[in-house]
């Protein structure tokens, strides 16, 4: 894929995911408080080549985009930054070497289910952990908040996997 095509694709994905998040997903919750945050799918799919500084700035902008709509300035951007910071480390940890990364950006199709699960679940957990604990900001509700982190992470992961299978199906 040419570079300009990749940029346009990511640009579109950014707007679609943020609109989906603030208009639809923010109104969805299971059991009263389980909330999916699919917009971080954008950060998961940023190409490997993107330099660290740009990755952090993109993560920050993504979080800030959601923050503006939910009036929680700084909340989502903090969580997204933590995720953006962890991303290169996680990739390095779970891959056997730079040669094992196939394609432009992380995907289920190229890396296999096990790799992609490790990758997305750890980043989603980091994001949700920062998000929910910043939001609650007290440790007296530690277990309730922790439960929210785990349940919402599972829900988000499920949506991410569905998106992977829908938009990047395995070629037969």
């Amino acid at each position: 894929m040419t570079t300009s095509r990749v940029i346009v694709n990511n640009f579109l994905r950014f707007f679609v995911l943020i609109a989906l998040q603030v208009l639809v997903l923010n109104n969805i919750y299971l059991g009263g408080f389980i909330n999916p945050y699919l917009y971080i799918y954008f950060i998961l799919l940023i190409p490997y080549e993107v330099p660290g500084a740009l990755l952090l700035i993109l993560a920050f902008i993504t979080g800030a985009g959601v923050d503006i709509f939910t009036n929680t300035l700084g909340l989502h951007s903090s969580a997204c930054l933590a995720m953006g910071y962890a991303r290169p480390h996680i990739i390095r940890m779970i891959s056997s070497g730079p040669d094992s990364l196939i394609g432009d950006s992380p995907s289920l199709k190229n890396q296999g289910l096990k790799w992609f699960l490790y990758y997305s679940l750890s980043l989603i957990l980091i994001h949700h952990f920062v998000l929910f604990f910043l939001e609650a900001f007290r440790f007296t509700e530690f277990f309730t908040t922790f439960l929210r982190v785990v349940m919402s992470s599972v829900f988000t992961l499920l949506l991410v996997l569905i998106c992977e299978y829908l938009f990047y199906p395995k070629e037969k």
Binding site: L23, N26, Y29, G31, G32, F33, I34, N35, G52, A53, L56, I57, F60, G63, I68, F69, T70, N71, T72, L73, G74, L75, S77, S78, L81, A82, G84, Y85, P88, F132, L134, E135, A136, F137, R138, E141, T144, T145, R148
Partner: protein, 276 residues
């Protein structure tokens, strides 16, 4: 100096992360305590428009239940007419009476955005300072509690819902006027928690909690909820319990803002005492 540049070059990833994270946390702690008006004004002109359009569409889907609420409300109001109680829109109707002086006026407003699934929930409504809404006014729906105004722009108001860690309402048992505090400790939006129930109060499931009228924000007697569970703590000074909110926070279409016409008098009275 050169070493410094080398250091920055080597560690720019973590340094940039720290700078941006500090910026975010700074924003978070400075602007989220009670949603500072300055930032809120800038962003709401943009996001308020989008939210309103989306809300207009989704309003059609809830028309039926909104009508239901309105009809119920009308029936209730008809039976209360002599009290000169209610005002529609920004205009209010009331009688001048020398024996019963009007204390509360109500402004109705449309809910533009509302959440129930976060730890700290807020509502935005379609009336602002131009219609007479001011900070710290109570917000109800029917005779049930919703929250408190925390920030006002000319056309919109920002309301801290009961479903927020900063919300605390002074309530009392309807049957014996014992005071309790009502809070929300997260989780399901249907249930809140009550603390500091005196040991000698004899509770039953289904006891009604209403506002005490102590706080100047809500009139006395606004429904908060009914007790759904309680624990008698043998080695503590107070008992605590769970309350089922009377309000369904997830289906708010219209709310009413309570204007206490005598609030200034009450506050002045307190102020004169302090200054002496």
């Amino acid at each position: 100096m050169r070493n410094l540049f080398v250091f920055i070059r080597k560690n720019y990833f973590i340094l940039l992360f720290l700078v941006l994270e500090a910026l975010s946390l700074g924003l978070f702690f400075n602007f989220n305590e009670f949603q500072n008006t300055a930032v809120y004004d800038i962003t709401s002109t943009f996001t308020g428009g989008i939210n309103r359009t989306f809300r207009n569409i989704s309003e059609y889907l809830t028309l039926k239940s909104t009508n239901q609420t309105l009809v119920e409300e009308l029936a209730k109001l008809h039976s209360q007419l002599p009290k000169a109680y209610y005002s529609s829109d920004a205009h209010s109707f009331y009688r001048n009476d020398t024996i019963y002086q009007l204390q509360y006026r109500y402004i109705s407003a449309k809910v533009i955005s509302n959440t129930t699934n976060r730890r700290n929930n807020f509502l935005m409504i379609s009336k602002g300072s131009l219609q007479g809404v001011r900070n710290h006014m109570g917000v109800i729906i029917g005779n049930r509690i919703v929250g408190q105004v925390v920030s006002v722009s000319p056309h919109f108001s920002w309301i801290i819902s009961m479903l927020n860690k900063d919300s605390k309402v002074s309530g009392k048992f309807k049957k014996n006027n014992q005071l309790v505090n009502v809070e929300w400790s997260g989780g399901s939006y249907r249930y809140g928690s009550i603390r500091e129930i005196p040991k000698h109060v004899d509770m039953k499931k289904g006891d009604t909690i209403i506002t005490s009228g102590n706080s100047d924000i809500f009139p006395e007697g606004v429904l908060v909820g009914t007790i759904s569970e309680f624990t008698v703590a043998p080695d503590e000074n107070f008992n605590y319990g769970t309350i089922l909110f009377s309000t369904d926070f997830n289906s708010l279409g219209y709310v009413e803002i309570v204007l206490d016409l005598m609030r200034k008098e009450k506050e002045d009275l307190k102020a004169t005492f302090k200054s002496e």
